[in-house]
């Protein structure tokens, strides 16, 4: 009787049913298939995040694990059976604009975000909501590129959201109730958060957006229990700090270098690798002579202190909005045998950069191993002594307009790539498009747009081409490519099933053979993809999920 009374009470309160019956089936299946338990509501500890590869049924960080590989070890859905894949459920967010979220799944519950700072928890088997949260966003926020959000971090019994008005908030993972709310910056000066935070130890690490407003960029770490800020690393050095002399006059004060995409973490060396965006104003170098550190760089920070261990700047003194905010992926592969600094192929970090080059670095010291063009580019014909591509003299925007490839959207953009340790290939969504860059000087005014130039698609380059490319990280060579009908803003997932998943601008979700990049299966979702796929399992069944249009879709085998 007590059980029934308890059940009734839970139903009345709108709580999910306790997984009594389900956990039995789940356990028995897991014994054989090892595909996930339904031990709901277990605490997500730092140890679990470090060992995420041991529980492939869960997807506990933005990129699936700390390495940023966006690779799932699940193989129930594989090249042999993927043609039978079918939609299992759809969750409508009722939001408009671009839906950029990557969901998290922990122990059968999916946690995701949507536009206008919505967050929600779903039954990952059915898509039925457990709780919903929406922040009361001030009406005068003006984020550069839509009211978007890319996802949550989870730690302990809380999920963490960065908001469009530049707050970091902790929500109770079971109810969505606000546990703490920390103000990082003033949204009225153009600061905002769109990034999925990263939980490391007991810290919530997050980077600011606002490179279109002349903010001074930073990366913050907050105590997960209290919301107290533990450290801040300014991505534009102040007076007296190393790198300050790479800025002309007072230009550092509005230097940009935002940090709006999620970084990765190496537990072995306790380093956070976080990429940064464009210097401000984004398309005009006049007035900020110098390299403009640490814009368009990869930063290696001590996770405990936020102190800089090393940096690598991809595009110096950028005038084309080529943020280097693409997810940097940690690769430890004996197959990658480079003679330069890292003979055993361990301790590498790779990034397919918006400027059109694929970079491989030694992550112990930030030394460049190789840089290879992976798309159409006209801005660099030469490299410096370290092998870093350097800009041609005539690549700057002009008053009359000057065509440069890639265009301002870049060869790739924020949508995350994947590295598949089985094929040893790095898969990235790429675009060939050139833009005409024309200067349009603007004075800095707090809270006003601060571009300094304008860009238009070059008609000479029409049509703009979109690809999924598979790059050999050791050589930078493109091993395979698939041409989309038009450029897409979809990220990429690889799985142990020999598959690569991605979406397209026409609304298709596509499963590719990881070796040949031949499409094996597709589903028309009815809305363009501006998100990246992920995989999880519940009750022994594997699912692949992606956001498209205004909805989150989950797919599984019959």
């Amino acid at each position: 009787m007590k059980i029934f009374a308890n059940l009734l009470l839970r139903l009345l309160r709108g709580f999910p049913l306790p997984p009594l019956r389900l956990s039995l089936t789940a356990t028995s299946i897991c014994m054989t298939a090892c595909l996930g338990t339904n031990a709901a509501h277990a605490q997500v500890t730092f140890e679990r995040l470090v060992n995420a590869q041991k529980e492939p049924q869960n997807w506990m960080t933005y990129s699936g694990d700390y390495s940023g590989k966006r690779f799932s070890a699940l193989d129930q859905i594989n090249a042999a059976d993927v043609r039978a894949l079918q939609a299992k459920w759809v969750y409508q967010t009722a939001a408009t604009g671009k839906l950029e979220t990557t969901p998290l799944v922990v122990d059968g519950i999916m946690y995701a975000t949507a536009q206008d700072d919505r967050a929600f928890a779903l039954d990952a088997r059915t898509g039925r909501p457990i709780w919903m949260y929406q922040r009361q966003v001030p009406s005068d926020i003006r984020p550069c590129c839509g009211h978007v959000n890319r996802g949550l971090a989870i730690l302990g019994d809380k999920v963490f959201l960065g908001t469009l008005d530049a707050h970091v908030i902790a929500l109770d993972a079971k109810t969505g109730a606000v546990v703490w709310d920390a103000t990082a910056a003033d949204y009225r000066t153009g600061h905002s958060f769109t990034v999925a935070p990263l939980a490391v130890k007991n810290l919530i690490v997050i980077g600011i957006s606002g490179g279109e407003y002349g903010v001074r960029g930073f990366i913050d770490a907050y105590d997960a229990d209290t919301g107290v800020r533990k450290w801040r690393f300014y991505t534009v050095p102040g007076p007296g700090e190393p790198g300050h002399d790479t800025w002309e006059g007072d230009s550092w004060k509005v230097g940009g270098a935002p940090a709006w995409n999620t970084g990765t973490y190496d537990p072995g060396t306790n380093q956070i690798f976080w990429p940064t965006g464009n210097p401000s104003p984004s398309n005009r170098g006049e007035g900020r002579a110098g390299d403009n550190l640490y814009s368009n760089s990869l930063l290696a920070l001590n996770a405990d202190t936020g102190k800089l261990n090393w940096y690598f700047q991809f595009t110096k003194h950028d005038e084309h909005d080529w943020d280097a905010t693409q997810v940097p992926i940690l690769i430890d592969a004996a197959k990658i045998d480079t003679d330069k600094t890292d003979k055993d192929g361990k301790h590498l970090i790779a990034q397919a950069n918006r400027n059109g080059f694929f970079y491989l670095l030694d992550r112990t010291n930030g030394k460049l191993i190789s840089a290879t063009a992976y798309g159409k580019q006209t801005w660099s014909d030469s490299k410096d002594a370290d092998g870093r591509p350097i800009a041609n003299k005539n690549a700057s925007p002009t008053l009359e307009g000057h065509t440069v490839c890639p265009g301002a959207l870049g060869t790739t953009n924020w949508f995350p790539p994947t590295y598949d340790p089985q094929t040893n290939l790095f898969y990235v969504t790429a675009r060939d498009q050139c833009d005409i860059f024309s200067t349009a000087p603007q004075p800095y005014e707090a809270g006003h747009a601060f571009y300094g130039s304008a860009y238009f698609p070059s008609e000479d380059a029409e049509p703009y081409l979109g690809f999924l490319k598979a790059i050999d990280p050791a050589t930078g060579e493109i091993k395979q490519k698939f041409q989309h009908t038009s450029p897409t803003w979809s990220g990429v997932l690889s799985t142990a099933g020999g598959l690569v998943f991605s979406g397209d601008a026409e609304g298709n979700f596509i499963a590719f053979d990881a070796g040949s990049l031949k499409p094996l299966w597709h589903f028309q979702m009815g809305g363009a993809v501006y998100a990246a796929p992920m995989a999880f399992a519940v009750d022994g069944k594997e699912y692949v999920a992606i956001a498209a249009g205004s909805a989150v879709y989950a797919f599984g085998l019959p």
């Binding site: 003006r142 024309s438 238009f456 803003w489 298709n508 363009a528």
Partner: protein, 280 residues
Amino acid sequence: MGLPYLSRISAGAFVCLFLIAAFCRAQDRNPLAGDPKAAKAGEYEFRINCALCHGLGARGGGRGPDLTRAQKKFAHSDADMFQIISNGISGTAMPANGTNGQGVGMTDEEIWQIITYIRSQEVKAPAKPLGNAVHGKELFYGDANCSLCHMVEGKGGRVGPELTGVGGSRTRDAIIDSVRNPSRRLAWGLSEATKEFPQEYESVTVVTQEGKEIKGVTLNEDSFSVQIMDMNEQIHLLDKSTLRSFQKSRQSAMPPYGADVLSDKDLEDIVAFLLSVGAK
């Protein structure tokens, strides 16, 4: 959780509407009208926010109308223009300020600067149109064969773009160029919500499994299927995987009308017809 969630949104929407109404009443005059400094600032703002569609110098681009014409279709007063830049034009590609998902919105002052700039660029239309619209209409539906493929005000063909509104959104020069050199820039067709680029009127030739050849234009296309209108206005819905061949071309299905086929004067008359329809 459902009810409070919904009621919060509707309460918020109500407050927003109220604020917009109060705000718009206050915005009926351009405080910067005629100020050359504001026009210069507006020129740069225009490049950043508007030129992608409306072209450098506001002379019209691939998808936005020429704004240098004094006679505009939607915006007659400065207040109209402010309202349109702020809120967009529903049913068209013109987005509300700050909502195109790329780039930040403008402040009120910046919008007034842009209006000041556009006014400074306006060219007074000649008192009389260059061509004869009545004769142009005869040619359009008659000897020039335009209406075989193009529809204007419900009459004409379907294989080419519908042209009722083209005179209101394109310059004379742009219309002439697209008749003389139709392949230089293919017309934009279907726009899908949230898709970055609209479909274009690309020419296509396919051979089906049965060996049947179909020539036409793509109405839409993705990696797996294609929707084609053939030259007889039949719609074909095809799976690419079942086709023997699929050839697309950026050579327009429209033949180039050289001066030997259509004289400068006759073309000017057709343009006058399209401009007169577009001005309605």
